[in-house]
């Protein structure tokens, strides 16, 4: 049996290789929760939460459920309100199981839960969109549509309920993968936009997004969830193997194993590069209102309306 390197009393349940630490259940909880506080502090949000409303977007998976749990705990300490948003993206049984898991979680935690149907909000769900995309042979992946539509619904619902912040379950691995995907696309704007800051989003129709798990490795999040025995859906989205993220994840994990701390170093680099180019790259980018839906966008027509129109045209 391996003992915890911090308390030296309990059995370790995870090895944190980049810190050369074996941690027990209790010490892992403290380790993850301190990282969440640090992530909120780093963007100046932690001290401003009192009296505010945080809308947590929960998918029924481990990361967003952990986020909702930790934010709910913090809300008792710091006196702010929490609501959960679940978006049913219409991916068959996968979405149905997730909806059930989120409803149960919210019931047990006594958190108010908004369930939004993507088809009702956007006129199409992901299964339908995927069918159209596969049939037409266009290069847009269902995951891209899902991401754009989810962000759109999240922001719209946050405005409707008067939320001050939207919290998502993005972990450190997600951030690193997104950065590498942007690099591979040569997408400098995306790197500038992905800087972890809430400054840029102080626009009336764009509710600031926070990422409490920004400093938490995916592996730490997975063990945190299992150690809490959260009833989450541990199944991959059927469309996930189609995404570029799938390949990048494997590559980064191989590097992390050979050189522990690689993910941290990439995250630090992402932030350094992003901050140094942000003002220059985004200077010309004026935030307008989409001429179709009125939501904020850097283009004449926002990406969500553009995709909706494209899918409609491909289907007809």
């Amino acid at each position: 049996m391996v003992l915890c390197d911090l308390c030296k009393a309990d059995k370790a349940i995870i090895k944190v290789r980049y810190a050369s630490l074996n941690l027990c259940r209790k010490c892992l909880f403290m380790f993850v929760e301190r990282k969440v506080e640090a992530a909120l502090k780093s963007v100046g949000v932690l001290d401003k939460l009192s009296g505010k409303l945080v809308l947590v977007a929960v998918s029924g998976g481990k990361d967003s459920t952990n986020t909702a749990y930790i934010i709910h705990r913090l809300s008792k300490e710091l006196d702010f309100d929490v609501r959960v948003l679940f978006i049913n993206e219409g991916i068959g049984e996968y979405s149905r199981r997730r909806e059930k898991a989120v409803r149960n979680f919210c019931k047990n935690m006594k958190i108010e839960c908004d369930v939004v149907d993507m088809r009702q909000e956007m006129g199409i769900n992901i299964d339908e969109a995927a069918q159209i995309l596969f049939k037409s042979g266009v290069s847009v992946k269902p995951c891209s549509v899902c991401g754009v539509f989810r962000r759109y619904i999240m922001n719209r619902r946050a405005i409707e309920v008067g939320a001050d912040y939207v919290a998502t379950g993005h972990n450190l691995d997600d951030e690193v993968q997104t950065f590498i995907m942007s690099l591979l696309r040569g997408d400098i704007r995306s790197i500038a936009r992905e800087v972890y800051s809430i400054k840029r989003t102080i626009i009336e129709e764009l509710v600031p997004r926070i990422k409490p798990l920004f400093l938490v490795y995916e592996r730490e999040s997975a063990v945190y969830s299992l150690a809490h025995n959260f009833n989450v859906v541990r199944a991959a989205c059927p469309y996930a193997p189609l995404s570029m993220r799938y390949i990048i994840r494997k590559m980064v994990n191989d590097l992390e194993y050979k050189r522990p701390g690689t993910k941290y170093r990439i995250l630090a680099l992402k932030e350094t590069i992003g901050r140094s180019i942000r003002d220059k790259v985004l200077k010309e980018e004026e935030i307008k209102k989409c001429s179709k839906c009125g939501m904020p966008s850097s283009r004449e027509i926002c990406r969500a309306c553009e995709l909706k129109e494209m899918l409609h045209n491909l289907a007809s």
Binding site: M1, V2, K11, A12, I13, I14, K15, R17, N22, R25, G60, G61, K62, D63, G169, N171, D173, D174, E218, R219, S221, A222, V223, L226, A227, V232, V233, R234, A235, A236, C237, R249, K250, N253, D254, E256, Y257
Partner: protein, 79 residues
């Protein structure tokens, strides 16, 4: 042929990979081995999995003996 019979597990450890369905890998061992080494020999990156033995979470630094079974769960499942 029974797959879980004691005789079948002599000199090996079984890794059950719970990735939606359950797949099984068998690794030859002699006596006690560190779990990390067993995973690497099975082509599994310890960074990508959570390790469970007898329904309890354990670390890659723990040891396993021949005839024993561990379960691994990909960390990315349902993120």
């Amino acid at each position: 042929m029974a797959t879980d019979g004691l005789k079948d597990k002599e000199g090996i450890v079984i890794i059950r990979i719970r990735n939606g369905s359950i797949k099984e890998r068998r690794v030859r061992v002699r006596g006690k081995s560190r779990i990390r080494d067993i995973l690497l020999r099975a082509g599994i990156n310890p960074e990508e999995v959570v390790i469970i033995k007898d329904e309890e979470l354990i670390t890659e630094d723990d040891f396993i003996s021949e005839g024993e079974i561990i379960e691994v769960l990909p960390v990315s499942l349902g993120g």
